[in-house]
Amino acid sequence: MRRPVAVRVVGPMQWIVYPALITVAAAIVLQTPVELLGLHLPEPVIPMVLAFAWPLIRPSILAPVVLAVLGLLLDILTYGPLGLWGLTFLVIYSVVLASRSFLAGQDTAVLFVWYAACCLLAFVLAYLVMAAITPTPASLIPLLLQIVPTLLLFPFAHRLIERFEDGDVRFR
């Protein structure tokens, strides 16, 4: 009789589904209409964390699909054109996936620089798509006001990578 072996299995529920649900919940909470002294809650693009962290954790078929769904949900929640953020997240996912061998094992500072570059690429892409769709290009000041809080989410991406990268012994 084969004896059970204690294998730590990290399934897609742990590193894909639960973070995605947390992301949706956070997006809804940050849309609460709070105004204090003329200031509103920040509205970062939270799924950017997942688009950066998931390809570094492990290549997966489910992750791009969930990213596209998250993008569509974000488009609906923010009343944006359908497909805008889904396309943006998938581009970031593919860029990080292509540079995965370079980024594996790198220092936190290198990861942050790469994350910042990915954020910049994502917002430039979204800006260009919106400029093509709408006759008036968006103002750059609110664009910067959304980039900065998105950059500040890097600790969550780093924590996700540290938590789940190499977390499943079957992938060693």
Binding site: Q31, P33, H40, L41, E43, S60, I61, G83, P137, L145
Partner: protein, 353 residues
């Protein structure tokens, strides 16, 4: 036979490649969605949006409720601490406004007399619905809010939304209990406006910033800093005269509008159940073909036909012969006045017999 026992048992596809293929397929789907979605009420995905909003709206309302209670509580407490200073300020404001009230009453009286003399049919009063904002979307690409009333209370796409200070936006999507309001600052917002001082028309264009642009201003020098901007009502989307803001020069040199609605929180709003000018008249009357009544008129009786031909003959006999055309066009004052008929007016059809 299980899959792994078949001929594909030894086939191994790199996980990176399968992920890349998935990315490409999903990206193609997103591009197709982008092309097919117009974000307007004509979008084929509007029911999907309405469905998601009808679920996420109440959730947002749960989070918005404590914020609202906290705001009420701070107002309540602040009322005690600032009662004296606010009382002084309100007394001053009341003293300033009393002459304006008298002028408004006098002007209203004069305006009513003019309307009666000219037979003007004024616009009917617009019914309104009060709503609460339960979700707020800010950012460079979208500025919209969810409101807690929907189609079940008569809200329709296109209804203007105001708060106590001025125009806020318009409704762009409805579900039975939730509606989506597009703010004036959204990149997709276009509002026909006028400058109160010069009556010049312009288009208020949102760009994601807090102060939308004033574009296509008609007339040179028709806008100055500090001019009040109102809705013009052109196109029938908004009623005329709703206050919007004050013109100001932006740092990029373009004319922008400081919105009145930014003077306070956009938490409670009023939705005007205003559709367009078509509500003033029956749509059937507007859509009727020209001279539609001709087909329903009865044939003239022989007596009526005789009276008509007799009247036409008398008019022809009374008219003067055509004057010779001068070489140069005569001024308008030199035109011959219409001569009175030499014969008495044609008899009534009943008198011709």
């Amino acid at each position: 036979m299980a899959f792994r026992d078949g001929p594909f048992e030894n086939i191994k596809v790199p996980l990176v490649w399968t992920a890349a293929v998935t990315v490409v397929i999903a990206a193609i789907g997103c591009v197709l969605l982008l092309i097919s979605d117009a974000r307007a009420q004509n979008s084929p995905y509007q029911p999907v949006r309405a469905g998601v909003e009808s679920v996420s709206g109440p959730v947002g309302g749960v989070f918005a409720a404590p914020v609202r209670w906290f705001g009420h509580m701070t107002d309540y407490v602040g009322g005690y601490f600032f009662a004296v200073s606010e009382n002084r300020r309100l007394r001053t404001e009341l003293a300033e406004l009393q002459p304006w009230r008298d002028q408004a009453i006098a002007l209203k009286n004069v305006n009513a007399r003019y309307e009666a003399m000219l037979g003007i049919r004024p616009e009917p009063p617009v019914e309104m619905r009060t709503a609460r904002s339960i979700s707020d979307t800010r950012g460079p690409f979208s500025n919209a809010r969810l409101l807690d009333v929907g189609a079940s209370r008569g809200i329709k796409v296109g209804n203007p939304v105001i708060n106590e200070h001025g125009l806020v936006g318009r409704i762009v999507g409805t579900s039975p209990n939730i509606s989506r309001m597009l703010l004036l600052t959204d990149v997709a917002s276009r509002t026909p406006v006028l400058v109160d001082r010069t009556d010049a028309r312009a288009l208020l264009t949102g760009d994601g910033s807090g102060n939308p642009r004033l574009e296509f201003v008609r007339g040179a020098g028709s806008v100055q800093a500090g001019d009040r901007i109102l809705s013009s009502g052109d196109g029938g989307g908004f009623p005329r005269g709703v206050p919007i803001g004050v013109a100001a020069k932006g740092i990029d040199g373009s004319w922008r509008v400081k919105l009145f609605s930014d003077r306070g929180a956009i938490d409670y709003v009023r939705i005007m159940l205003f559709e367009d000018f078509g509500q003033l008249i029956s749509p059937d009357a507007l859509n009727a073909p020209p001279l539609a009544a001709l087909g329903t008129v009865a044939e003239a009786t022989p007596a009526q036909a005789a009276a008509i031909s007799d009247s036409a003959a008398r008019r022809e006999a009374a008219s003067p012969p055509p004057a010779p055309r001068p070489a140069t066009p005569a001024p308008a004052a030199a035109r011959p006045a219409a001569q009175p008929p030499a014969q008495p007016a044609a008899p009534a059809p009943g008198d011709a017999e």
